[in-house]
Amino acid sequence: MSRPTLGDVEQILAALAQEGYIADREIATAIYLSVELHKPLLVEGAAGVGKTEIAKVMARALDTDLIRLQCYEGLDVNTALYEWNYQKQMLRIRLEEGSGRTPEEKEQTIFSEPFLLRRPLLQAITHPRAPVLLVDEIDRVDEEFEAFLLELLSDWQITIPEIGTIRAQHVPYVVLTSNRTRELSDALRRRCLYLWIDYPSFEKELAIVLRKVPGISRQLAEQIAAFLHAVRALDLQKVPGVAETLDWSAALLRLHRDHLDREAVERTLGCLFKHHEDQRVARGPWLDRVLAVIADAQRDGQSLQAALDRLERLARG
């Protein structure tokens, strides 16, 4: 059986860049091996570092469909797997009134595949070609559901009492993401390849901003990336991710800013800091010092690494 492949790691990097996703070799290798070894990929990392994007890009690069199961607390089999279409069943019963068929025959009719509502997991299994199945935020479901999922990931079959066992025609490519709000079981971990995505480095974040925020100047983009580097060294309730960086960049651009100053940062604080306490920290004297370091570094053309180190030290007071 021929399976689609993604070429080698370099080609994936190129494909990812083409899709607008700035990745490093670590991410590209994980995607590549997940497809090559056909094993689920478990992606962990803080919110907003681009975990979900990986599945989307993977589906596009493999030229297949993406099926997404968004997990939440209380997710049950009816939402994840299948549900009977009760309205349709009732209509059918009405239509068949007086048809003279026995109740058993009728029952068989209304509990058959045309009356089944396919939820993401069943969709993934019955898909005509191997799709990418994204199980998003797996840490939100409880252990019971996790165990069920683990079983599915190894057997690739689903049993519906009224119909029987449905076996996967093509094993989907699976990406699981977790924000680590709950520790996942060892069994699930061991079934997967593992990828940890950290907050981006200065260079990577700069590349992302330049790529994703059209019309931004290089000077402002550098200041933004450096500022975020300083922010992430702070002890915050909620550390801003890449999504926040992009929101903030767009906001600054909207306000026609070409450089960072106190007023610009204060007006747009809500894009980056989602907690009152964090905002208070950011508004403090720390802000002036950070802005000064960034301005100096850019004016004198200092070594970048030295400036970034100084920014990190600022966070420690």
């Binding site: 080698d8 290798t29 109740p103 209304i110 019971e144 709000t181 709950r182 061991r190």
Partner: protein, 381 residues
């Protein structure tokens, strides 16, 4: 140059074993994956080689640091000297063969798996300060406490499941069964079928202060921990003073006496000072994954913290935001004249759902009553 996969396989196996010896979750299955991955990348490219192993061998973030350190030690610095002495290396094998699970080195590892586990460093108490003698227990006291604790545990630890079962009457319809009934009665309306939610249990995380300031009560409180764990099964227990120790396993035995004996041997720093904040922080960092919105956190402590108050406050804030319910039992609360005025206690109080006394059997009875009045589980919908 063609890579020498025979010795490479040996080395990957050995490398995996060393990872495992350092506590990384990694066995023959992972090694087989790693070997398959190496077939798919260009192993002469050092970075590709490193990333292939890094994606397949470790499974958790905590293990990545161990991996990185060992990778440098093993493949970059160690390999040159090590290969000198190895004259009788296995024959270079075909790439495909080497990567299959059946290689001798892998099989050998599987056989030696138990031996490998023994390589793990055993526990050695570093801070042996003083040990507690548990010999003076009154048996009748135990009975009362045990019964109360079971009642309390039930209150604390039940919640509604999302699983359902048949019921005679409820507010939840069972559509599947209703339709079947409908058919069976030939289209006549036979009534509705119902289901109800099953009751499920919360997980309980117990954090028990055994430091000097709690000296008098520690013994009694360990009782509490033990009975709770015995009654529920899904209890994770920790004791802390200046640092935190997980004692779930110690308390899992059936015999109380044996459990207490083992505990006093195992827990360092029994009756030392207290660092509540840093102990809770340690709990969050190492075992934070145990917390979810179905977890009840039970902290037993008098709130005398000798550490930074801010550390305690932030730890409590995080626990509160991640757990279903935070209950703080304070053994001093019952004693006349005590008010929760210690700085630590004050910092912690805003993050506590239920604050109650736990200084004797009567106070436990009172706690049971408090819990009976209000549902402890997070209200659903």
């Amino acid at each position: 140059m063609r890579p020498d996969f025979g010795s490479l396989t040996e080395h990957v196996v050995e490398f995996s074993r060393r990872l495992r010896a350092r506590g990384v979750l990694c066995g023959p299955a992972e090694t087989a994956d790693a070997l398959r991955a190496l077939r798919a990348v260009n192993v002469l490219d050092r970075e590709a080689f490193r990333l292939a192993l890094r994606t397949t061998l470790p499974h958790r973030r905590e293990d990545l640091g161990v991996f990185d350190a060992l990778f440098v030690a093993y493949w970059q610095t160690g390999l040159a000297q090590r290969s000198e002495g190895q004259e009788d290396r296995p024959e270079p094998q075909a790439v495909a063969e080497a990567a299959s699970l059946g290689t001798p080195s892998l099989r050998r590892w599987a056989e030696e798996a138990t031996e490998g586990e023994q390589e793990l460093p055993g526990y050695s108490p570093v801070e042996v300060l003083s040990r507690k003698d548990f010999s003076s227990f009154r048996e009748d006291e135990l009975d009362v406490i045990a019964r109360l604790v079971v009642a309390i545990a039930r209150r604390i630890a039940t919640r509604w499941s999302r699983r359902r079962r048949r019921a005679r009457r409820s507010h939840l319809l069972d559509m599947r069964r209703t339709l079947r009934l409908h058919l069976r009665w030939g289209g006549e309306f036979p009534g509705l079928a119902f289901q109800r939610r099953k009751v499920r249990k919360h997980r309980v995380v117990l954090l028990c202060d055994v430091s000097g300031s709690m000296d008098v009560y520690s013994r009694f409180l360990i009782q509490f921990v033990y009975a709770l764990q015995d009654a529920l099964g899904r209890v994770e227990s920790f004791v802390f003073s200046t640092s935190l120790t997980r004692v779930t396993e110690e308390l899992r035995t059936r015999s109380l006496r044996a459990a207490l004996d083992r505990l006093s041997q195992r827990v360092p720093n029994w009756s030392g000072g207290t660092k509540i904040g840093s102990s809770l922080r340690q709990f969050l960092d190492r075992y934070g994954g145990l917390l979810d919105r179905h977890t009840v956190v039970l902290i037993v402590s008098d709130g005398w913290d000798t550490g930074e108050v801010e550390v305690l406050r932030r730890a409590m804030q995080e626990i509160r935001s991640r757990a279903a319910r935070v209950i703080w039992l304070n053994p001093l609360l019952g004693s006349p004249g005590y008010q929760p005025l210690t700085r630590g206690m004050q910092a912690a109080l805003p993050y506590v759902h239920v604050f109650a006394s736990a200084h004797n059997a009567d106070s436990l009875r009172e706690l049971e009553r408090v819990l009976a009045r209000g549902r402890v589980g997070r209200p659903r919908r």
